[in-house]
């Protein structure tokens, strides 16, 4: 894995992103180390997806810097598949940057995708589509995976299955993960460290256990109970 300095693979410094006059990210600074799993929490409209897009190079910063060591792959919010193409084609297009066309390695990690290979992506269930989005991101052979709302619209069992795959890849391959989630329990369970983003600003950061114990964070994201 290509790290930037001090073993960090994501370095965001003083990042400002604006859509016209609306400021989506307001001087955001965060860092993620190589092989870390870090969560980013926040309510709707906090700027989480904008940060994900900035990390994937899809939006231009107004000011500040975004640096990623190695290749970052994004699993976007709402899966964002190519619904008219087959699962195999979706996966193959995931290898556009890496030049990888053969999905065998992805089938080894997510065997269910091999069974779905010939099906049109648009007719799959939400969980299956999320798995395709996961596999498509892996096809680019990323060193950093940015996951925008892994659990959105999925049954708890499906989410747990995907989360287990994510944790497994982090352990076995040292894949760095930035998990953007509204489900704070899942995020704190998976990621030892987290940031909280509100109205485009980082309002809290630290160890997940500490954040979960913070009454303000617990009140806003854990339904008032301390995990």
């Amino acid at each position: 894995m290509t790290s930037l300095r001090d073993g960090r693979v994501i370095v965001v410094e003083d990042l400002v992103v604006a859509y016209g006059t609306a400021v989506a990210l307001d001087h955001v600074t965060l860092q993620v180390g190589a092989g870390e799993m870090v969560a980013l929490l926040g309510p709707n409209g906090a700027g989480k997806s904008t940060l994900a897009n900035a990390l994937a190079g899809l939006v231009e910063p107004a000011s500040g810097t975004v640096r990623v060591g190695g290749r970052a792959a994004l699993i976007p919010e709402g899966r964002q598949l190519f619904p008219d193409l087959s699962v195999a084609d979706n996966l193959a297009l995931g290898g556009w940057r890496s030049g990888e066309r053969d999905p065998s390695a992805v089938y080894d990690v997510l065997p269910r995708l091999a069974e779905l290979a010939g099906r049109r992506a648009g007719v799959l269930s939400g969980g299956e589509q999320q798995m395709v989005a996961f596999g498509r991101a892996l096809m680019s052979r990323p060193s950093v995976l940015v996951v925008d709302e892994l659990s959105l619209g999925l049954a708890p069992g499906v989410t747990a299955d995907l989360a287990a795959h994510l944790a497994g890849l982090n352990r076995s391959r040292g894949l760095t993960v930035l998990l953007i989630e509204q489900n704070a329990r899942l995020a704190f369970e998976l990621c030892p460290r987290a940031y909280v983003l509100e109205a485009g600003r980082v309002v809290a950061e630290g160890e997940s256990a500490e954040l979960a114990g913070d009454p303000r964070v617990a009140g806003a994201y854990l339904g008032g109970s301390v995990a």
Binding site: L58, P76, F82, D84, L85, A92, L93, G94
Partner: protein, 286 residues
């Protein structure tokens, strides 16, 4: 009966030329969301180039290929003007393509003058079941069949074709996986130019081409493309064939001065019936 068959076969050939124009519109619209009103210009450029190159003594084959490539380059330049700047909306791009069409008039008049030009095609005719059809018409049908088969293979079997389909299907997701959507849009315009160019070199031996022939070509092509909802090549082909046959029948049975109006009226009726059936089906399934 043989007159009917003659009109039918000739109509199919006319429809095939319309289908090539329309397929260019569909390819560009599918990938970029832009309705390209300069599509007829590509055919005119190719037709006028063929006429000049043959006039300069270049052999058949080489002249037509060079003319089609010139149309593809015109398509690419139109694409650069229409979608080359990131963030251009499809509506703005549509206006740009109209502007390109008008600009092309000036360039074509400077280069070729305002008089219609023609080019020799395949001579002779063949008789099929008592009906006589020009050999050039058979060539139009054969080339169109090949072009549509090649398009189907390109979009259905090749990685690049699937990347183009991906851009049409979900441009944001295409950017997520690293596809340069703008570059794909330019490729679509070049492909549209190529298809328009093929139509141009095939049609020029059948009817003289001048700088403003693009209007007739785009009206027919647009009608067929709309028939296929600007996204479905096979339905577009069916619409173009219907249009071509209707126009030729109208002309053959003595309504030559109103052939376009009759054909477009027929298309309108078919589309209204189609819309009515779709509406009934969606109400039943609701």
């Amino acid at each position: 009966m043989s007159a009917f068959l003659t009109y039918l076969l000739n109509g199919l050939a006319v429809g095939c030329a319309i289908a090539l124009i329309a397929s260019g519109l569909v390819v560009i619209h599918r990938v970029t969301g832009v309705v390209n009103f300069a599509q007829g210009t590509f055919a005119v450029v190719a037709g006028l180039c063929t006429s000049s190159l043959l006039g300069l003594g270049l052999p058949h084959g080489a002249s037509e290929v060079a003319a089609v490539l010139a149309a593809a380059v015109t398509g690419l330049l139109t694409g650069l003007a229409a979608v080359g700047r990131p963030g251009t909306t499809p509506l703005s791009s549509l206006i740009v393509t109209l502007g390109v069409g008008v600009l092309a008039y000036a360039v074509e008049i400077v280069l070729w003058g305002d008089q219609p030009r023609s080019a020799p095609g395949l001579a002779g005719s063949v008789t099929v079941a008592g009906a006589r059809i020009q050999t050039q018409h058979l060539l139009v049908i054969a080339v169109t069949a090949l072009a549509f088969a090649a398009l189907a293979l390109f979009f259905g079997r090749t990685y690049l074709g699937k990347a183009l389909t991906a851009c049409a299907s979900n441009p944001y997701a295409a950017r997520v996986v690293g596809i340069d959507v703008r570059r794909m849009g330019l490729l679509a315009f070049a492909l549209g130019g190529l298809l328009g160019g093929i139509a141009g070199v095939l049609v020029t031996p059948l009817r003289p081409i001048s700088f403003d022939t693009d209007v007739t070509l785009i009206v027919n092509g647009f009608a067929a493309a709309v028939f296929g909802a600007l996204t479905r090549p096979v339905v577009t082909l069916a619409g173009a064939l219907l249009l071509g046959v209707a126009e030729t029948m109208a002309a053959g049975y003595g309504y030559g001065s109103h052939q376009l109006e009759i054909a477009l009226g027929l298309m309108l009726v078919v589309m209204i019936v189609q819309a009515g059936r779709r509406s009934a089906l969606s109400q039943e399934s609701a």
